[in-house]
Symmetry: C2
Subunit: 221 residues, 2 copies
């Protein structure tokens, strides 16, 4: 969906590139939403300091530590737990979209590495609790959120979630990994994306009305 994929080795060989590693922590669940709709899987994302949604993780300098050691370190800061991520958890490496690095074209290119790690439901719950007292809580991280994969009768669930604003490659990392791990079907995802565009259009309309109202008040002053 986004930029070209790289192998892990190819990515590490890139001269002068910067590297960021993020992980999708998830589990299966038998819990039903409101006693009837299967939730199926719990997937953790977070509200970041910059107001965007993203996955746990951060920058890693491969000349100082391995990608996985760096990601493990970031997780201990953000989630307050020791959670070793291994090379076998690697899913995908690719260049970040140019728009996500707001600096000039002379700045180093950013490669984003993505990992996925399946856990037990009780471990996920423990992570959510621990995250509220982790070092980065209220700093790099403004809160952990679960991703709804279901679709409710009125359209709530995955589609509204996909209509939010995501950091860098996070939305495509989410979508691609949901497909890769068979957590949603291509058809479910396609419908959710189509629906999320409509939700976003109505949010944009609301923002434009709000801006127009603020501009009008300003002219009255």
């Amino acid at each position: 969906m986004a930029s070209r994929q790289l192998s892990r080795a190819e990515a590490l060989a890139c001269p002068g590139c910067m590297h960021a590693c993020h992980v999708m922590l998830y589990c299966d669940t038998k819990t039903l939403l409101f006693g009837s709709l299967p939730i199926r899987h719990i997937i953790l994302m977070q509200m970041r300091f910059d107001g965007l949604l993203g996955f746990p993780g951060g920058f890693v300098n491969p000349s100082e530590e391995s990608l996985e050691a760096g990601l493990t370190r970031e997780l201990s800061e953000e989630l307050g737990v020791a959670l070793p991520i291994l090379e076998e958890d690697h899913v995908d490496s690719r260049y970040a979209p140019a728009s996500s690095s707001s600096s000039s074209s002379s700045s180093p290119r950013l490669i984003t590495h993505f990992y996925a790690k399946k856990m037990e439901e009780e471990q996920i719950r423990e992570l959510e609790r621990a995250a509220t007292t982790a070092t980065d809580h209220g700093q790099e991280v403004l809160g952990m959120v679960r991703v709804p994969l279901y679709t409710m009768k009125g359209g709530g669930g995955l589609a509204p979630f996909l209509s939010h604003s995501f950091a860098g490659n996070a939305r495509s990392q989410l979508a691609d990994t949901l497909l890769h791990l068979h957590l949603v079907s291509p058809e479910e995802l396609r419908e959710a994306v189509a629906c999320s565009l409509k939700i976003q259009a109505s949010a944009a309309e609301e923002l434009r009305a709000s801006l127009a109202s603020a501009e009008a008040k300003r002219k009255l002053l």
Copy 2:
């Protein structure tokens, strides 16, 4: 910014109307982001079961309990703490936008009541911890998040946050209450809204590209 405001009494007199009560829980903070940028205030919102951002709260039936008693009950379910909300915490009542009730025009109109309650920073932190084990966690609530009010050099903060998708009146309740309580200036808010529209436009572009790619793959099958 949105629909017409009603007095609390006027709202309660509406025959057959439905009522929803939500609250902005907030505190002052001296904490600096990354040691330099003043965070100023912590404001709690949540990722809801339907994938939209909103405030804690829910439906209240005024023939069974007062608006404030109903809101207090909702908070105990969502945040796992007893946090009495009083009539003096009331900020605003208004009709919900028609689009937020997906049902037919013959269904009862929804009035949203909004409250704001200032707390101590340690109480807010305690709420965040308690919410991860509250009754509604993983059901009505997918996670609590803080609202960034600052603007970072690269534009991160309030503007990206406002570009997300919100339930019902939540975005205008947030914006209006930030102004009402002088937590942000009208100029700061206007600039953040203008910037959030650009962020949303680029998110829409990404979603359209993702949809086109999914459609193309589908035709290949």
